[in-house]
């Protein structure tokens, strides 16, 4: 049912894009053999973050840790 795609037509994985960009920005090296596990961890993180990312809170909501001058 799926058409066979050539390598050039393969869509880029957004997690690969994030890993590449973040690694550059943070000056981190992600060895090819680690990339799969790093992406898998990020996928879990984003799936969990979806649970609270859109939880409705007012603009005035304060974070839990409170700074004290």
């Amino acid at each position: 049912m799926s058409r066979k795609r050539g390598p050039k037509a393969a869509p880029s994985d957004p997690l690969d894009d994030l890993v590449d960009a973040a690694a550059r920005a943070l000056d981190l090296t992600v060895a090819p053999e680690w990339r799969g596990a790093v992406k898998a961890n990020l996928a879990v993180t984003f799936a969990l973050a979806e649970l609270f990312a859109d939880f409705p809170l007012p603009d005035e909501a304060e974070p839990a840790p409170v700074f004290s001058a």
Binding site: L26, W34, L42, T45, A49, F52, A64, P65
Partner: protein, 465 residues
């Protein structure tokens, strides 16, 4: 006296009365460590000279008629993220072996020793505390004394194994998302994670600043209370440590659970529970006559937010090490930390705002209840070598602990001595009410519903392949 399975309170009484000496107790502990640690792999350092010198000093003090502390002659050990004078603070890592030896002991070690306890060593742990299994690629896995083929749980794996295996009656661990409560559950011992900010974390290796707690593991509620009382009090070296006066709980625990309103956590805390955890919870609830279920609102989201904050802060803490020497990390920890460093800041900020909302909802529940019961782990100790199917179990060991530490509530994990493996139940109280959780634990112990069961004698101590 046979001190192998004696409680800390019994040892201290015997040393104080002169029925035994601190030196004899400490020598016996060192002998047990020498005999059993090659299999249990709980210790990464044994401090024989230091411990014997301290024991001799206690015995000399007694002969001179000086008053002894509440923990006189009690051998204890600490997770190796505590600073111990003269040792590099490993925090379960290979990288930290190159740290300079710590110039002094962590505050909590000093406070226990000021009460007569004797530090005998440092304990194995999951690398940088980012772990629920007690396994460690550099130092080998901590092994569960009830079945050495099974994991201790983590990350305070050596703490659970050393206490459950009778090597020491008391150990200290740390708990960021469950790292005291998970090994207490899987090893069948008592564990106390106090209120966030209650006990000083000064001079220990951190993980997640707004989630890190320290606390004791022991084989009785009284021992938890004695150690906790000895460690309480403000410490200017930890900016999070609350400026509260010491509130001793040891004199309170015998009041038991009378008059306390105890409920069972429903919803999220009932889902995904294995039969042994259901059984343990039912036994504890029945012993307390607890039948009311309450819902901790949005606990699933709370666990998710704790996960994201942990990953992000962990990644940030270790960023320089990840840049310079990623190959020296445990590969599984490294991959989690790298991913954590890449989490967008907006998600972490939202998690911290959600956290305050969740805290307010949960605190409101304590208007109607004094303590809440919940499973400590979804299942009893899994095998150390897991197949792919069971990998999900490993990641889920903290499912029921994370939503509680997320808002810093005090918890006692109590061991239900099921066969073949024990499993724990959490007794959760309102902030600063460790006394309530410990009173309930004591009542359960008196009722015979919970106990640290002795691993079978003459067990096959060889790890199975």
């Amino acid at each position: 006296m046979d001190t192998a399975w004696a409680h800390a309170s019994e040892i201290a009484a015997a040393v104080t009365d002169g029925h035994t000496s601190a030196s004899a107790v400490v020598r016996a502990a060192l002998a047990r460590i020498a005999a059993d640690n090659p299999v249990l792999n709980a210790f990464t350092a044994v401090l024989e000279d230091r411990a014997l010198a301290k024991a001799r000093a206690i015995d000399a003090a007694r002969l001179a008629g000086h008053p002894l502390g509440a923990l006189a002659g009690v051998p204890f050990a600490v997770k190796n993220l505590f600073d111990v004078a003269g040792l590099p603070t490993l925090a379960g890592s290979k990288i930290n072996r190159e740290r300079a030896p710590a110039p002094r002991d962590a505050t909590l070690i000093a406070r226990l020793e000021a009460n007569g306890a004797v530090l005998v060593g440092a304990l194995n742990m999951g690398e940088y505390a980012y772990d629920f299994t007690g396994e460690n690629v550099h130092y080998g896995p901590s092994r569960n004394p009830h079945d050495v083929a099974r994991m201790t749980g983590g990350s305070s794996g050596g703490s659970g194994g050393a206490v459950a295996g009778g090597l020491v009656p008391l150990a200290l661990g740390s708990d960021t998302n469950g790292s005291i409560r998970v090994p207490a559950s899987l090893c069948g011992v008592f564990g106390l994670k106090p209120t966030y900010g209650r006990l000083s974390r000064a001079h220990t290796f951190p993980f997640v600043a707004s989630l890190d707690h320290l606390g004791p593991l022991a084989r009785s509620t009284r021992d938890l209370a004695l150690a906790y009382d000895a460690m309480q009090g403000h410490d200017g070296d930890d900016p999070v440590c609350a400026a509260r006066s010491v509130e001793p709980v040891a004199p309170e625990i015998a009041r038991g659970s009378e008059g306390l309103r105890i409920a069972i956590a429903g919803g999220y805390f009932r889902a995904g529970v294995f039969p042994e955890a259901q059984n343990a919870l039912a036994r504890v609830a029945a012993a307390l006559g607890a039948a009311t279920e309450i819902e901790l609102p949005q606990a699933k989201r709370a666990r998710a937010a704790a996960y994201v904050i942990t990953a992000a802060e962990g990644g940030a803490l270790h960023l320089a090490r990840l840049r310079a020497r990623a190959h020296d990390f445990d590969p599984a920890v490294r991959d989690r930390l790298i991913a954590g460093a890449m989490i967008p800041a907006a998600l972490v900020t939202k998690a911290q705002k959600f956290r305050r909302w969740y805290r307010e909802q949960v605190l409101a529940l304590f208007a109607d209840v004094d303590a809440v019961l919940a499973p400590a782990t979804p299942c009893a100790a899994p095998l150390i070598v897991l197949d792919g199917v069971e990998l999900a179990v490993r990641a889920n060991l903290g499912l029921y602990t994370q939503p509680i530490s997320f808002i810093g509530l005090p918890v006692v994990a109590v061991p239900v001595p099921l066969e073949p493996m024990p499993i724990g139940v959490q007794i959760i109280a309102a902030p600063w009410r460790e006394d309530v959780a410990l009173r309930v634990a004591y009542a359960l112990e008196q009722a015979g519903a919970v106990a640290a069961s002795k691993p079978p004698l003459g067990r096959d101590k060889q790890p199975r392949q």
